[in-house]
Symmetry: C2
Subunit: 254 residues, 2 copies
Amino acid sequence: MINKPLILITNDDGIHAKGIACLVEAMKEYGDLVVVSADESHSGMSHAITVKKPLYLKDMGEKDGVRYYMTNGTPVDCVKLALHTVLHRYPDYIVSGINHGSNSSTSVHYSGTLGAAREGALNGIPAIGFSLLSYESDADFTECHKIIKVVFEDVLKNGLAPDVYLNVNIPYTDKVKGIKYCRQGKGKWVEDFIERTDPRGRQYFWLTGHFENLEPEATDTDEYYLDNDYASVVPCSIDATDSVSLKENKNYEL
Amino acid sequence: MINKPLILITNDDGIHAKGIACLVEAMKEYGDLVVVSADESHSGMSHAITVKKPLYLKDMGEKDGVRYYMTNGTPVDCVKLALHTVLHRYPDYIVSGINHGSNSSTSVHYSGTLGAAREGALNGIPAIGFSLLSYESDADFTECHKIIKVVFEDVLKNGLAPDVYLNVNIPYTDKVKGIKYCRQGKGKWVEDFIERTDPRGRQYFWLTGHFENLEPEATDTDEYYLDNDYASVVPCSIDATDSVSLKENKNYEL
């Protein structure tokens, strides 16, 4: 008897999001699926973990052969709870998403969707984060299916390098032209805080902003390919070391 | 008239922590200091931003020539608020810490202290995160002063490469032997959830765990040098791309 792969699915938009339902649909043919996701959205939670309050875990039962668990934690908490409490063994793969909105360029650092994928890589598990470039809660995820199929089957066949996870972004268009494996573009979020006064007279701020592409002329970045109707796949390393800086070989004795 | 550098100081242990007071002391000679920090600790908040609730900012006044502001946000929120609301210009440097506890190896991904430094780098500002390898709230930070002096004066003199921030960890010992610029060691947190039942009969979990060095034989990592009473400095890149994986030059037309 051949065991099917065990695949953990999570996201940062919560268990009720359309994106995770689409990811479950797309992944069904590849293995036994277990979903561990949060009761509400955890956008912008990055690689955060919950250390100051207890985590709850609710068994939501099985639906169409898929097991669902709901937590009050961050995406990384979901992966940790799944690995150590829900599953009886490490999953063979972790897929996260489909995020409602882009996680391209430096957004990888803010994204809970990619936090979950990175946590997979930190535990030696091949992991992929998928995002669609639409923030609509009722976005059309139809085009995502073929991207997920190609990218996941490539990982099934070739594996991933150790310590590497994939950041996959999908343009919101009727026809995705193809899939490009490429580097992370340079970019940043430019903040524009909304400033108001609360009923008690205290000033408060809402964080808001827009993304700025810092190399608009580049033709080899995720930003470039997404702008040209290609899905982008950035292989990301959990090793943050900037090896170029290390070549200076600096040391100080004290 | 020569303007002194403007230096933003933040941390993830909150404005009342001993570590940030020590960092302020150590940095005083280098410029005009502004502290923006949280009302409570935000350990494990990584690069998280607050998008679902408003942020408050309280002017705590001036003390010994240093201006203090308190927020209810994450370390990255503190940097964003400082850049866009508190300061009238971008600071010349951002220093974060001194964290109570290690942020070596892959802990860089969970750390709010390093989240703040990374946010500096994302905005083109030279940034350093400092951590002491003691979780004690009343730890002795004496040895940190000389490390901060050497590392910061090196940055003052030579600058940092674009998109790079420094992850500095300091061993908790009476005599730090020296400072080694080195790579991030491989390691992971092994979880060991504490499982309990609340008064309403619901099962809950506390996240706890210990760090495991995955390459104990290596002699060129931050973990190795810290174990041998050296402070470690890992230059970290905001570019997560794994360029080795990209050499396969994969593309798919659809």
